[in-house]
């Protein structure tokens, strides 16, 4: 699967880097820790079958999302229930007051991914140090 973001990023210089095999990801709970350069990410598959490769530490207080709960078509941090979709957008903060819109301002770093013939690749921009 090539995400729309990936298409946009193709204008920037970079390359696709193989990060996982689909059968490895889907062997059990579909979630894997991924390191690109110095940056740590978590790769997961949501209930629609889409892939997310997002920053590994929760943007709230830094808990490790590799132990997150795969539910509600995304990844939920077990620390305070902050919920992220596969683009890294925070979609719910269940401990914040009713009606709070803070979640709309919270997004985890996201790296575009594609899945072809059972191989999952991440888009690595050449200018960054993510290779």
């Amino acid at each position: 699967m090539t995400t729309p973001q990936a298409t946009a990023h193709n204008k920037v210089e970079g390359h696709w880097k193989v990060i996982a095999q689909s059968k490895t990801l889907d062997a059990g709970r579909p979630l894997l820790p991924i390191t690109l350069g110095n940056d740590r990410f978590v790769l997961f598959r949501d209930e629609e079958g889409g892939l997310g490769l997002i920053g590994r530490n929760c943007p709230h207080r830094g808990a490790d999302l590799c132990f997150g709960r795969l539910e509600d078509n995304g990844l939920r941090c077990p620390f305070h229930g902050w919920h992220f979709d596969r683009t890294g957008q925070c979609v719910e903060q269940p401990a914040e007051p009713e009606g709070s819109k803070m979640y709309t301002q919270i997004k985890v770093p996201m790296v575009p991914v594609k899945e072809e013939n059972g191989v999952i690749s991440a888009w690595c921009e050449t200018t960054g140090d993510k290779t």
Binding site: N57, P59, R61, A63, P78, A95, E96
Partner: protein, 408 residues
């Protein structure tokens, strides 16, 4: 989000650091009395210094500097015969109280001990234990002043029988109802949090508004600089220091205090020794074995998939942030209001020390320290309209029934 410079200032605690100077104004828990059963000296690693407890001729305990081989791991506890004391190193006073040895590593005379419940209760009613966490002390403290996380991190998808809950956190019934505490936390995840500055630190009140105009009131406390005092069950409270070993390791160091009945120390110790190894009190569930994480359990039984011991959940949360949490990346919300207030107090204390005003720090001379009691630390379910007086009355009733003088 804060700057790297500010994060360094409020986390690093070695000699002659800003936060380290603040911590050194207070008695620090250095060892459990249980650790004094064998030969002296007894290795202690505290505030970035390598030390050992010795008994001087008159029987008094002292902390002395020890000479350490290059590369000794932070929490390493060598046996007595392997310890070399440094004749030119610092010596600090130590004081054994309620199953714990405290040390004073700061300038001048040590301060008085406040009359907290854990120091006032008879020896029969207190029990001390500790455990190693592989992270900076501040993130360990901050989880303890964050009342919202208990509704998620410690969520049980099913409730245990509260009568099996002796010596465990959150396993009792809530206040005077038949509702397990775990159910209250699960059903009401958005507490309204109020924070009040006090002589000892912060009083933190978490209000969970329930059906039928009832409110669950949970009062916990931050005791400056690095302790918390929280209810464990209707019978017991936890007074817990998050004491630095160095910048990247700390101990939780707890004095459990019982109001009515003596503490069953053998049971409390056995429960905890089963989960830790000696002599460094490192937990058997840890980062190296993924905290025994079980995805199937996470789906059906617990929020974390890491078993029923809430200490393991907290340990995972704080160790997963990294050795020192990168607070340049954090986004604090309304649920973090006590953390924000605490950091303000710590920064004020740092500024007061830098300006040679140590008497401005909490419990350092402005107020009569011996008059500081309690603090009130309690769960209650009260009519929403008068939750304040109902919470206070529930605590007063418990104290009045207790065989030792717990009056406040």
């Amino acid at each position: 989000m804060i700057s790297q410079a500010l994060n360094d200032q409020i986390t690093r605690i070695g000699p002659n650091t800003d936060a380290g100077n603040v911590l050194r104004q207070y008695w620090q828990p250095a060892a459990l009395s249980d650790e004094l059963a064998g030969e002296f000296p007894v290795a202690v690693n505290l505030l970035g210094e390598r030390l050992a407890l010795v008994r001087s001729g008159d029987g008094a305990l002292q902390l002395k500097t020890r000479i350490v081989p290059q590369g000794e791991p932070a929490a390493h506890c060598p046996a007595a015969q392997e310890i070399t004391l440094d004749p030119d190193g610092a010596t600090y006073p130590a004081h054994e109280i309620k199953g714990a040895v405290f040390a004073y590593m700061g300038p001048g005379d040590p301060p008085e001990f406040p009359n907290f419940d854990c120091f006032r209760a008879p020896d029969s009613h207190v029990f001390a234990f500790k455990g190693l966490w592989r992270c900076n002390w501040l993130q360990a403290l901050e989880i303890g002043i964050d009342p919202a996380h208990a509704s998620f991190l410690h969520r049980f998808l099913e409730d245990e029988d509260p009568s099996d809950g002796y010596g465990k956190q959150f396993r009792d019934k809530a206040a005077h109802t038949d509702m397990p505490m775990t159910q209250v936390l699960r059903d009401y995840p958005r507490p309204e949090i109020q924070v009040d500055e006090t002589d000892y630190g912060l009083k933190i009140t978490a209000l969970r508004h329930m059906e039928n105009d009832l409110t669950h009131v949970r009062v916990t406390n931050q005791i400056f600089p690095e302790a918390i005092c929280i209810p464990m069950s209707r019978e017991m409270t936890i007074t817990q220091w998050h004491v630095p070993i160095d910048d990247e390791n700390c101990y939780w160091f707890t004095i459990f205090t019982s109001f009515n009945n003596p503490v069953n120390k053998d049971l409390m110790r056995d429960q905890r020794l089963k989960e830790h190894r000696l002599p460094d009190y490192a937990p058997l569930k840890n980062r190296e074995n993924n905290y025994h994480y079980d995805p199937a359990e996470q789906e059906t039984l617990t929020y974390t998939g890491m078993g029923l011991d809430i200490n393991v959940h907290d340990q995972w949360a704080v160790e997963g942030m990294g050795a020192i949490q990168d607070r340049r990346q954090e986004h604090l919300g309304r649920s973090d209001v006590a953390i924000i207030r605490y950091r303000r107090m710590l920064r004020k204390a740092i500024a007061d020390l830098a300006a040679a005003r140590p008497e401005e720090l909490p419990m350092q001379g402005r107020a009569d320290v011996s008059a500081i009691r309690g603090p009130l630390s309690n769960d209650a379910i009260a009519p929403t309209e008068n939750w304040q007086s109902a919470s206070h009355a529930a605590d007063t009733a418990r104290r009045a029934e207790c065989p030792w003088d717990a009056s406040v």
